[in-house]
Assembly symmetry: C2
Amino acid sequence: MARTQGSHSDITGPRIREAALGLFARHGYAAVSMRQIAGEVGVQAGALYNYTPDKQSLLFRLMRDHMQDLLAAYDDLDRPGDPQEALRQFVGFHIRFHLQRPDEVFIAYMELRNLTSENFTEIEALRRLYEDSLENILRKGQKSGQFSVTDTKITTLAVIAMLNGVITWYRSGGRLSLDEVEQVYWDMVRRAVSA
Amino acid sequence: MARTQGSHSDITGPRIREAALGLFARHGYAAVSMRQIAGEVGVQAGALYNYTPDKQSLLFRLMRDHMQDLLAAYDDLDRPGDPQEALRQFVGFHIRFHLQRPDEVFIAYMELRNLTSENFTEIEALRRLYEDSLENILRKGQKSGQFSVTDTKITTLAVIAMLNGVITWYRSGGRLSLDEVEQVYWDMVRRAVSA
DNA sequence: CTTCTATCTGAACGCCTGTTCATATAAGGT
DNA sequence: ACCTTATATGAACAGGCGTTCAGATAGAAG
């Protein structure tokens, strides 16, 4: 049979992306086959090629869309002028945004090496944009004397690495609430950079 | 031909592990074939099975040996009694040890999901041991009033995540020396936990 | 009711996978 | 010089891979 009931492009497309997202996150890009993805959607492997030119593009688009969503969401915020407040906002935003999308985040930094070099370059550029927004906050605070950081670039990477750690252990309904987690991390970040 | 000149068990064995280490780190466990590893060593794929029962064991032993080396190296240190000094030592040790073994470190946290569940459990236990040694320092400092951390477990994970970040960007001969990097990170960690 | 077209199937393509094993050979011991 | 044994080859196995495509079908359009 073909074109089974209720099965349309605008339904199958997202379902393929969701299935790929979950499987890539759980088992890794290289370990997941197109047939597995198709199986999860309930379709034959050939049908996937109505929605992606190939497996690589499937991965790339997941990562690109995620990075673009991240940048757009951060851009949408009303950013405080005060560096300390801006940093606090960044920490909260980063934690919450990433905890809402564990699979995307996992893929975005685990599967970089499985991108072709052109695709890697593009994703790296997006990531750099995001890091720059944190670095700008740190530079502003350094200039105003509110922060004291030896090297804004390293501090940026260190802070983001620290915040990313949260997704490896946080489980909703666990010992700490989201607010408490945010508070703990904010305390550490604030003290780590404050003058 | 077989048993080519100068080719012995005690040479081929390590060479296989080295080849696997580099390839797993660069391309990921799932993306590397036994034939690729054999090719790098200069033997046929079948010969690998004189040294490992299967591909999974090759990965597992690399990870287990790394974790054991890490624990042994840390245990060998003369640990200071003062929590502040102990923390400083931990930060320096962690950065230097990990920068000396970028491939092992990369594998140790990227390939966890490719371990069978028994193997995963064993590696996780070793990792926990290492994390515990940091948590003990934090707890001691908290008790003595030198540190002020809301949650020692989270702080432990946050500090390690931050320190691990260094291996993603540090290149020897780059802008900063190892000493400078250590200093920057120590400044951040110290302030992040200090009372 | 018929036609058209988007959507899917199912088989096929050539190639690669981890692993096994009979066979060959070079080194080490006597 | 011979024999043993560790070590390696190279072919084979069954199965999986990403991708393509002719053909089938269901829903939309007229």
